[in-house]
Every structure is written in structure tokens, then in C-alpha cells.
Symmetry: C2
Subunit: 199 residues, 2 copies
């Protein structure tokens, strides 16, 4: 069984508490220092129970990244594609900059490039996100705001990639002006794509 | 003296060889395993000579990231902003995917988010890049292709950020089609900005 395909709620009752403990342990000790034993100690769920559901720390961490409340993706529904995309960027921005989540994000995503096990988890995290983001694009297509053939993944890669580069590599402060700026740049590109297609 | 502001060529004669040895040691042993001693052994430049120019491994690594041939930024001059940006993305793509450079990039940049010393170096690397990329935008302004007030850093953040996300996080293959796709999306946005400004 693939643990990540388990329906929400069918894991152990205290799955959410375990997920948060897993992410805290990751932020505190790094990927190499993360152990099922440590998570058990931090969460008061015993080791045997954890192993009943997850065969390895990688499986637990994958589920924690995708299923935790703190890294959860609230999909906005503002009535416009612009509003929804700004909401998605704002949420990702808070995740990359908030003291509650930034250390987890750094520990999990920043190290993914050099660790195959982490890379697989991060890949699944982003695939899961894109799947949940689809509704934003679909609603925009239904409203006639967006051409159906726009590459949605490219749009998200541009927005979230720009945010990552600005925060993680350039180490510059970002605020809601940034969200609006990058969304407007990308949306102007997407609209021109639509206009060209309509001609 | 700030070692990174030293003019090229005024360092030790074998600076370039040292830079490559530094990046190889980084790729092989990670940031924590990188030592001046190791670089000395790998480069046949003796330790005392290295310490004459760089007080610490961080100073040496900063200069290596910015000054090495393998991570060097060849600024294209194709006659169009589109061609130049595609060239810049293509070069960054090769750097992120080539077996010669990808391990170095992963070791240096991927870990930057969680290590303050590395973060400072990466920040300087990107600032140096942006400075060298300015000529591409300036030429486009001079040719009338680009509004002078377009945020050049935002354009580069979108392009290189999208590349980073696609390669490092989504772990998907990228080729020259990707370069053209993201450049066209962003340029369409930039052009609409210009058209709006002209109205």
C-alpha cells in the first residue's frame, strides 16, 4: 500500500499531531537527524504504532509534508484568477518566511537537490500541490478568463520559483507588493497568449 | 580588503585552478567537509599561499562561486531581448543539469537556505549575476524593445526561479523548449506592461 494514497482520516487518530512532530523534528535536527524514535518521543505516540502505519521515516515524512496542517494549501476562491493566484503566492510566501514554517521548508526542500530520498518527497509534494491548484485554473477557464491550453504548471513554476529565488537565494524581504507584481507580470503574459490564440 | 572585489587576475596565478578545486571539493564533500587543507591537497597550491589570499573557506568559496570558469556567466548578444534571455536561461539550465556542474550547484545553492554562511555567498553570487545581466536589458531598452522601468530582477527571478523549481523540485527534464516557453510567457507580460505604459 502506498501510504500517501491513504484517504485522510484513515491513518492513526493522532496522525496530524504526528505530522507536526515529524516536521518539528526535521526542522530541529535536519533530515539526517530525523528518526522514528525521535518523532515517537516528541509526539507521545509510541514507536510500534508509528511503524504499523509507516515503514520508514521517508514514508512518514512524505505524508507529513503533504498532509500536515502547517504546510497545508488553502486554495483561495476570490472570484478572479488574479485574486486566486495572489492568494496562492501569498500563502507560499508566508510558508517560506514565517518563523513557524521556514525552518521546516529549508530543511526539507533546500536539501532535496542533493538527497534522492528527499527529492522524491519534494517531487510528490509539488505534484500534490499542482493537483489542488488545478481548480483555480479550471474556474478561470470556466469564467472565460483563461485559455484552456495555458500551461498551468509553467504558471505556477514561474510564480513560486520567483518567490523561492527572491527569498531563499537573494535573501530579500518580500511582501504583498511582490505577490501582485509577479502575478501581474505572468498574467499579462498569459493574457497575451489568449489574445494571440483568439486572433 | 574585500577579497571578492579584487580585480580578476590579481589573485594568485593559479586562482582559476584553485576555484575549480574548491568547487570540486564542495561537490564531493559538501559544505561541512570543505576545508582549505583539502583544497590545497587537491590543487597542489600550498595552504600558506591560499591563506595569504583568503582568510577562510567562506571567502575562498565566495570567490570560487563568482569567479570560476565552470559557473561563469557568458552574457549572450543575439540582437534581441528574446534571444538573449533564452541564452541566459539555457546557460543556467546547463549549469543545473550538467553532470560537471549540477553537484556543485546542489551543494552550494540548495543548502544555502539553512546555512547563514552559504546564504551570504549565494546572495552575492546572484547579485553579481544580475549586475552582469544588466547589459542584456540595457541593450533592449536602447533598441526600443523594453520599457526602461521594467523590473529586471523580477524578470530574472521568474525565469531562473521557474527553472530551479522544474529541475530541482519537480525533477522533470527540461530542454530548449522550456527556455523558449518561459521566456515567451514572461516577455509577453513585459510587453503588455510597455503597451500599457505607452497608452
Amino acid at each position: 500500500m502506498n501510504p500517501s494514497s491513504r484517504p485522510p482520516g484513515s491513518g492513526p487518530r493522532r496522525a496530524r499531531q504526528l505530522y507536526e512532530a515529524t516536521l518539528s523534528q526535521l526542522a530541529e535536527h535536519g533530515y539526517d537527524g530525523l528518526t522514528i524514535e525521535g518523532v515517537a518521543a516528541a509526539s507521545t505516540v509510541n514507536k510500534t504504532t508509528i511503524y504499523r502505519w509507516w515503514r520508514s521515516k521517508d514514508e512518514l515524512l512524505t505524508d507529513a509534508l503533504i498532509g500536515s496542517d502547517s504546510l497545508n494549501l488553502a486554495v483561495p476562491d476570490t472570484g478572479s484568477l488574479r485574486g486566486d493566484l495572489i492568494g496562492l503566492v501569498a500563502e507560499a510566501r508566508r510558508m517560506l518566511t514565517s518563523p513557524d514554517t521556514a525552518p521546516t521548508v529549508a530543511a526539507a526542500f533546500a536539501a532535496a537537490a542533493s538527497r534522492p530520498a528527499l527529492a522524491t518527497m519534494v517531487k510528490r509534494f509539488f505534484a500534490d500541490r499542482l493537483e489542488r491548484e488545478q481548480v483555480v485554473f479550471q474556474r478561470a477557464v470556466d469564467r472565460g478568463e483563461l485559455a484552456a491550453d495555458v500551461d498551468r504548471q509553467a504558471v505556477m513554476d514561474l510564480l513560486i520559483g520567483a518567490l523561492w529565488l527572491r527569498v531563499m537565494f537573494r535573501d530579500e524581504p518580500v511582501d504583498e507588493d511582490f505577490d501582485g507584481q509577479v502575478v501581474d507580470l505572468v498574467l499579462a503574459g498569459v493574457e497575451q497568449h489568449r489574445d494571440r490564440g483568439a486572433r
